[in-house]
Structures are given as C-alpha cells and as structure tokens.
Amino acid sequence: MNKSRTLALIALIALIVLAPRSWAGFVVEVTRGQDNAIPIAIVPFAPSAGDAGAFDVAQLVADDLNHSGRFKPMSRTDMIEQPHTGASISFDDWRRLGNDYILVGQLQPQGADRMTISFELYNVLNRQRLLGYQITANRSGMRLAGHQLADMVFEKILGIRGAFATRIAYVSVQGQVPNRVYRLIVADADDENRHTVMQSNEPLMSPAWSPDGQSLAYVSFEGRLSTIYVQTLRTGERHVVSAKAGVNQAPAWSPDGKKLALTLSTRDGNLDIYVLDLASGALSRITDDPGIDTEPQWSHDGKSLYFTSDRAGGPQIYRVGLQPGDHPRRLTFQGNYNARARLSPDESQLAFVTQEEGAYRIAVMDLKGRGDTQIITKGRFDVSPSYAPNGAMILYATRDRSRGVLAVVSADGRVQENLSSDEGEVQEPAWGPF
C-alpha cells in the first residue's frame, strides 16, 4: 500500500517534470564573420577533341575570381580528379579538400571558328546546382566569354553583379624627356587585351568614360596647351570639345552623356567648374570662388556636382547643386587633404584621396549614414580612385618599387591587390561602365 502510493506520487512528479520542454531559449548568436576569400574549385574544362590549343577558359575564370580578392581558387595540382559535368562530381571529396563551390565545364567546337562553353556551378556543401549555362563565342571572343562566365559565378555566390567583362582606361608613361611617350590605353578589366587609343610625346591626362562606353574624353597637351578631346573608341575619330585659353581640365560626363563638367581658368588663373553642353557648345559656370575648384563628378541624378576646392585652405570635397543660387557645401572634414572624389554606383559611398601620416591613401566616406570615413589602402602614394561599375572594387594608381602600377581594393577595404603591368608608369585609371 505504502509502496504503491509512493509510486503514484513519483509518477505525478514525473508528469510535471517531463512535460514537453521548449528549447526556444537555446539560440546561438553570430555577430561576426570572416573576410576570407571563398574557396572554389575551378576544374580545367574538357578541351574539344583535336584542339589542344584551345583557350584555357577555366584559367581565366580562376584568375578573375582570384584578382577580385573574394575567391580563393584551388590549385590545379591539388585536384585529385577533373570532372567536366555535375553528374561526375564526388562532392564529399571536394568538400574534404576544403571547397565551398565547384565549377566544371567543357568546350565544344561549333564549325570552324566558333566554340560553345558549357559549364555548371555547384555548392559543394549542400550539392545544389547554382548555374548551368552555355556560352557560344568565336575564337577571338573566348576571353570575353570567360569574363562573362566569371561574372555569373561572382554574382551567383556574392549577390553582386560581376564586372570582369568590362574595360578600363589609363595613361601609361614610358621613357625619359625628351623621348618620353604618353599612351592612352584601353584594356579588359584584368589589364589584358590592351589597345593604345592615343599616343603623344606631350602629356595625356584624365581619361573619362562616356556613360555608354563608346567614347573617352581626355586632356591632351599635344599643342603645348591643354585641350579636351572626345574620341570614339570604335572608329578612333576624335574632336576638340574645349580649348579655351589657359587651363582645360578634368572632364566628367553627365549621366545622360549630353554634357561635360570641366575645369576652366579665368584670365587671372583662377580655376572654376563649368558645364559644357556637347550638342550646342553652351558653357555654364557652376562655381565662382577665388580658390581652386576642380575635379568635378556628377551625382547620378545629374542635378549636382561633387568637386575639390581649396577655398578653406587645404583641398576638401564639396557638393553643389546646379540650380542657380545653390551654394557649395563642404563634405570632408577629417585631415587637411581630401581630393578627387568619385561616387559609388549606388551613391552610398564617396571615394577620394586623403593624406595620412604624409602618405596619400584611398578613403571612402559613407554618404547614407553619419558620414563615417574609412581609409582603405595602406600604400604611400595611392591616388586616382575609380569605382568598378558594380561598386565592389575600386581601381587606383599606386607605386610598386617606385614604379606606378594599377591596383584594386574592395570597396570595404577587405581585399587589396596590385595588378601587374609592364606598361611603364601607369596613371589615372578609369573603370568603364558595364
């Protein structure tokens, strides 16, 4: 009797204690992550039969992703097998080798001159197929096709449109005076496939892409005086758009491509910002200040300009509306040197050159929040920032062993890399549109 009563009591307690428990309180909070490059295996694509010299598309994709700093392609020598289709991927093996993603593909000739690239991208961790496409290109277009493929992979994994299949322009300087040669060069975004657009023994400066990517505006001193030209890339035709007495400087295209903002000098040598209507040649003055106002940059709505001015002493970044009577507003206050502003494609950031500890470095300022400024490069002479059209990277000029070279840094400063260049002293890079 006594025993069964005890049992009943225990059962009652058990019922209460063992009632369904909720683990809702067990939540792991993650507030930080890594800036590591994402490990990806880019397996060499199956070459087409009888075409051993086929372009190595997979290598180009791997190089693109590697240069972006956001991916870490696996070394080919570490690959224990080389699948070419999703069906033959041993996911567990690729995962053990440390990969998050894998790209496989193959080339198939289409007639004498064309090639079809078939490729598939997989998430190794959950075995999902993320991409499965074919690109057909002629042999001379294989490089572009590879960049487009890299763009797709970049966008699928990072959620950002890739900008590998875009172009850049810059000025290269070789030789010593009086045999110095200036070249205006247009190249693929990886600085391959270079073409000289213009060559001169006098300085070339400030190349600027038209919004449609068809033309470049630039400054040439070929007549010993500064002149602004617009040159159509496909035909090589060019024409003078500004050859005023004094300084003609720093052309910048309006978002609709119909106007140029530029810097002109008055007779007394004062530099101010003007807007030139390309169709009519009409010129309107935007700034009127005794200090130097230069390096204009359009807002995306075309209604205001960012520019550099030393009206307060040292150079600082200002913004001015284009409506008559609008007054410039100063944007930068940290440090005594902030110049050459460039607006990010989403207008959330302003990149510019700042001086820190006697060095010139690239800084970005948050335009959406409290205007926080972050210095994102670590060189001694990092100048001329230019956003990639996807806003993810900033191209700039720096010095590597006393030679001017191109470099890229992610817009958040997490990854930075120099692009090797054998084109002498490289200056004033400008990243073209999509």
Binding site: I10, A14, V28, E29, T31, G33, Q34, L125, N126, G159
Partner: protein, 302 residues
C-alpha cells in the same frame, strides 16, 4: 466322319453366324459411312461384302450334304448296338443276385461290430469331454485371475501417475506464481528506478542549463560558426537571419535551413554554408546539454 461333323456342328454354326454378323455390320457401316465419306472412300467395303457372301453360300451347301450322310450311318449303328445289349443283360442279372446275397451277410456282421464300437467310443468321448470342460474352466479361471491382477496393477500405476502429475502441477503453479510475484516486484522497482533516473536527469539538465556550462557550450558554438562564416558584402549591419540547425550526436550537421532572413540570396547561402563548414560542431561540455535542434541567429554588428 459323320460323328465328326455332328460334334463340330456348333462351331460351324457359330462361324457361320459370326460371318453373317460381320457381313451385316460391314454392310451397315458401308451404308452409314457411304453418305458421309463416299467421295473419300470409294468402293472397297462393297467388294468385301461380295466376297463374304460367296463364302457363306458354299458353307451352307457343304453342311446340307454332310447332314444327310450322317443320318444314314447313325441308323445302322443303332440297330447293331440293340442286339448286343440284349445278349449281355441275361448274364449280368444272374451274377448280380449272387453278389447281393453275399453282401447282405457281410453287412449285417459289420453292423453289429460297428454298433459295439460306437458304444465304446461314445463313452470315451463323454469322459474326454468332461475332462476337457474341467480343464477349460480351470484355464479360464486362471486367465481371469491374471487379467484382474494386471488391471489392478495398471489402475494402481495410473493413480500413482495422476498423483505425481497433480503434485508436479501444483509445485509448478506455486513456482510460477512466485516468479510472477517476483517479476512484478522487479518491474515495479524498475519503473520506480527509471522515474527516479529521469527525474534525476531532468534535474541534472536543469542544473547544467542553469550553470555556466550552458553558456560555455553556446560560446563554443558561436566561436566555431563565426570562424566558418565568410561574410558576403551584403551582410551589413541591420541584417538579421535565423537558421534552423539539426545535428546528430558527435556534432555532424544534417540540416541547415534559413527561416527568417532580411538578407539577399548571397547572405542566405553564406549562412547555410557557414553551418555546414562548421560541421562537426563542438561537443557540449556535458552530454545533457546536447541540442539536436537549435537556432542560430546571424546579426552582423559591423
């Protein structure tokens, strides 16, 4: 010759009859089948019938001739045999009378002897029968006595067997009842022990959950996943995503599924990948803290 014919007359008749029957049957079959298969079977059966009818007629002729000859011979033999029989009959009659007288005398003498012997035999038989009856009765009595003894023995044995069985059953029942009682006691004790154990375990879980061990486990999971999360550029401050994780003992992640999330596809993918990359997850400092299913909340603060 004539007697042969007479003796063989039945077989001959039978033969003739059979032939006639066969002929008739053949004729009938021919007539019947003629309708059906006249085209297939031409005239062969009709020819056979003709042959048989000729044979029949020749037999009939021979039989008539043989019967006439036999009748004449039989009449002559009968007359000779009657004369001979009359001669012999007289001699045989005299002989029979003499033999009969002698036989009668012998028979009477033998009958007397036989009567005496029969008398003696009957007496002996009666004595023997009495003796046999006595012996039989004695034997029957003996058999009955043996049977009775055997039956008694069997019965005794059966009773003994029944008793043994009953005793055994009683013993077994008693044992089973004891076993049942013991088993029930044991089960009760087990249930009690199990309940006590569960309660103790729950108390232990409650205790460790309230202890710093729980925070230590949470911290080790956080650390592992933060190291595994490669943050995409879109994972900025303001992003808040939850992923439901299932692990098995040993920490291997079997499922990671983003539930609520205000991030883009890249953020979602990076979060799921982070959990898979972190697999196997760290083991809890106390097994009671193991969570098969739990939530990870991603809230980048930079």
């Amino acid at each position: 010759m004539a007697s042969e014919i007479k003796e063989n007359s039945w077989p001959i008749m039978l033969s003739i009859g059979l032939h006639a029957a066969i002929a008739a049957a053949l004729l009938l079959m021919t007539l019947v089948s003629a309708d059906r298969v006249s085209s297939e079977r031409p005239a062969a059966p009709v020819n056979a019938m003709v042959v048989d009818s000729q044979v029949l007629k020749s037999f009939q002729r021979a039989q008539a001739e043989r019967a006439a000859a036999a009748q004449a011979a039989a009449q002559a033999a009968e007359q000779a045999r009657a004369a001979e029989q009359a001669r012999n009959a007289a001699a045989e009659e005299a002989q029979s009378a003499r033999i009969a007288a002698e036989a009668k005398a012998a028979t009477e003498k033998q009958a007397a002897a036989e009567a005496k012997a029969a008398e003696e035999a009957q007496a002996a038989a009666q004595a023997k029968a009495a003796e046999e009856a006595r012996a039989a009765a004695q034997a029957r009595a003996q058999v009955e006595a043996r049977v009775a003894a055997a039956r008694a023995a069997q019965e005794a044995e059966r009773r003994a067997e029944e008793k043994r069985a009953a005793d055994a059953k009683a013993a077994a029942d008693a044992k089973a009842a004891e076993a049942r009682r013991l088993a029930e006691n044991q089960a009760k004790a087990d249930r009690e022990a199990e309940l006590r154990r569960q309660i103790a375990e729950e108390e232990h879980v409650d205790a460790v959950e309230a202890s710093p061990l729980r925070d230590r486990y949470l911290a080790s999971l956080q650390d592992r996943i933060q190291h595994a999360w490669i943050k995409p550029p879109s994972a900025r401050v303001g992003i808040k995503c939850q992923v439901q994780v299932t692990q098995v003992p040993g920490g291997e992640v079997t499922s990671a599924r983003v539930s609520q999330c205000n991030g883009d596809a890249a953020v979602r993918q990076s979060i799921e990948n982070a959990v898979y990359r972190a697999s196997p997850l760290p083991e809890p400092p106390d097994p009671a803290l193991f969570q098969r299913n739990f939530t990870i909340e991603f809230k980048p603060d930079e």
